[in-house]
Amino acid sequence: AVNGILLGRVNPQNDGVVEITDSVPLFHSNLALLPSLEIALIMIEEHYGSKGLGIVGYFHANERFDDAELGIVAKNIGDHICRYFPQAAISLLDNKKLEALPMGKDQSPVMQLYIRDASKNWKLAGPDGGSRLVIKEPAANAVLSDYISSEKWQDVVDFDDHLDDIKK
């Protein structure tokens, strides 16, 4: 599994909208261990705070293709993030949508949005109102397809990589 932090801010004109403008990939191993997570969060907050952005959410991708469930580790990290930002959301990668990406012209996001309800349970944000994940740039999925075919993921450096070699 891999995960990451979503950064952004509340829209100054409309506080019902949270804009996600950046993300930091975190780990690709031992996601359930606290020490690296705590250090990562401190550093991320510091770095983005100076740019006027804050932690607004958490991204998670499951290791099995068939696993579309928000696992316990993801939920707990999401709860942790909510301490920083109560409106935080979790974005779970939809493996099936990602697989279908190069074939279709689907412009909807390849991720599922989860929001915490009043009883602090993580619920899938459905089409029945409530919260929605909207991509600002309509060509985003095309860009993503492009990145996938050009194997751009090889260039991604996450926090695990940094801790293993601080030059990265």
Binding site: N30, I42, D67, I166
Partner: protein
């Protein structure tokens, strides 16, 4: 051999790393070159097996099938040698129809003759059949034909109940299908027999961590530390697990294991150094209000911080600011 490509493949085998895309690319380049291929001689088998597994890992299942089947083409040798064996046995029975206890010199000579000529081929054939059987199972597994693969593995296990690879493939299949509790149960059973398999202990610990069963994961790492006390990775991960568990005693032990990691890695391990800082802060928070005797000296933390700052200054100067502010928020 096949030049640089073959050396790369041997290295991957030796180090047991997973580089399936590259293995497939280089391996196929050797196979497609008839000169390189013939230069391999008997090693061609090893190449076929390695490539078949790499192909399955990359989901190139038709390539894998061709490779697995190619090994079967050579089996007529085994069949002909089986016939030779049967002939020899017939001759023996003819010559010694009743003798069970009498050991004749010529009998021994004949037996040795058979052994010398036929056994090597028979043995290779047996290994070939057995490992090809395993590859066939893996191919079913790679296709996702879980039920068939399970049946095939179980039947292989009947003949080879102590085959570690087959046991572990069954655990892997359970995990791949999402039957985590089954995977845990089988892996535990496996480790009762093969308790020296450190990869299996780590895999079990990983599964426990994904379920946030930290105590059980800690137990796995304790087993690893007992058998491999000088592997820094185990010290480090054990410390991480203890820190995550929390509680004063666990934090104090975690700090000790971060320290031993630093010791074993010559002071260069960033995670361990940061771990010391985190532990010191957490311990201080928990022991607020306790007597002075319980308070720990801050020397270790400031030493760790100094080393971190030096490392970042030297090798990651652009990130030094981040580190300094992180350390600031960790100071008591």
């Amino acid at each position: 051999g096949g030049g640089g490509a073959w050396e790369y493949l041997c290295l991957v085998r030796k180090l047991k790393v997973r580089r399936s895309e590259k293995v497939l690319k280089y391996g196929l380049s050797i196979l497609n070159d008839p000169k390189k291929r013939s230069a391999l001689g008997p090693e061609e088998w090893t190449l076929y097996e390695q490539l078949a597994i790499a192909a399955m890992d990359c989901q190139c299942l038709d390539v894998a099938k061709v490779l697995v089947d190619s090994r079967l083409i050579k089996l007529p040798d085994v069949n002909s040698c089986n016939l030779k064996l049967q002939d020899c046995i017939k001759v023996l029975h003819k010559k010694f129809p009743e003798s069970k206890r009498v050991v004749d010199a010529s009998y021994i000579k004949l037996l040795l003759n058979i052994l010398a000529n036929v056994l090597p081929i028979a043995l290779c054939g047996f290994i070939l059949l057995w490992s090809t059987g395993r590859l066939d199972c893996m191919l079913l597994e790679a296709k996702g034909s879980w039920a068939e693969a399970e049946k095939a593995y179980s039947s292989l296990l009947e003949d080879n109940p102590l085959d570690q690879v087959i046991h572990k493939r069954r655990v892997a299949m359970a995990k791949a299908q999402g039957n985590i509790s089954v995977a845990i149960e089988w892996l535990n059973k496996y480790l009762e027999i093969f308790m020296a398999d450190h990869d299996a202990w780590r895999e079990l610990a990983d599964i426990y961590l994904s379920l946030q069963m930290y105590k059980q994961a800690a137990f796995c790492y304790e087993e690893l530390l007992l058998s491999h006390p000088t592997v820094p990775l185990y010290h480090l991960t054990y410390a991480d697990v203890l820190y995550t568990l929390g509680g004063l005693e666990n934090l104090q032990t975690a700090k000790k294991y971060y320290a031993s990691t630093i010791d074993l890695t010559g002071g260069k391990n960033t995670r361990a150094l940061l771990g010391i800082c985190l532990c010191t802060l957490a311990i201080a928070r928990l022991s607020k209000g306790r007597s002075k005797d319980d308070k720990e000296s801050p020397e270790l933390q400031s030493l760790a911080a100094k080393v971190l700052e030096k490392e970042y200054k030297q090798r990651a100067a652009d990130k030094l600011g981040l580190l300094t502010s992180a350390l600031r928020s960790l100071k008591i």
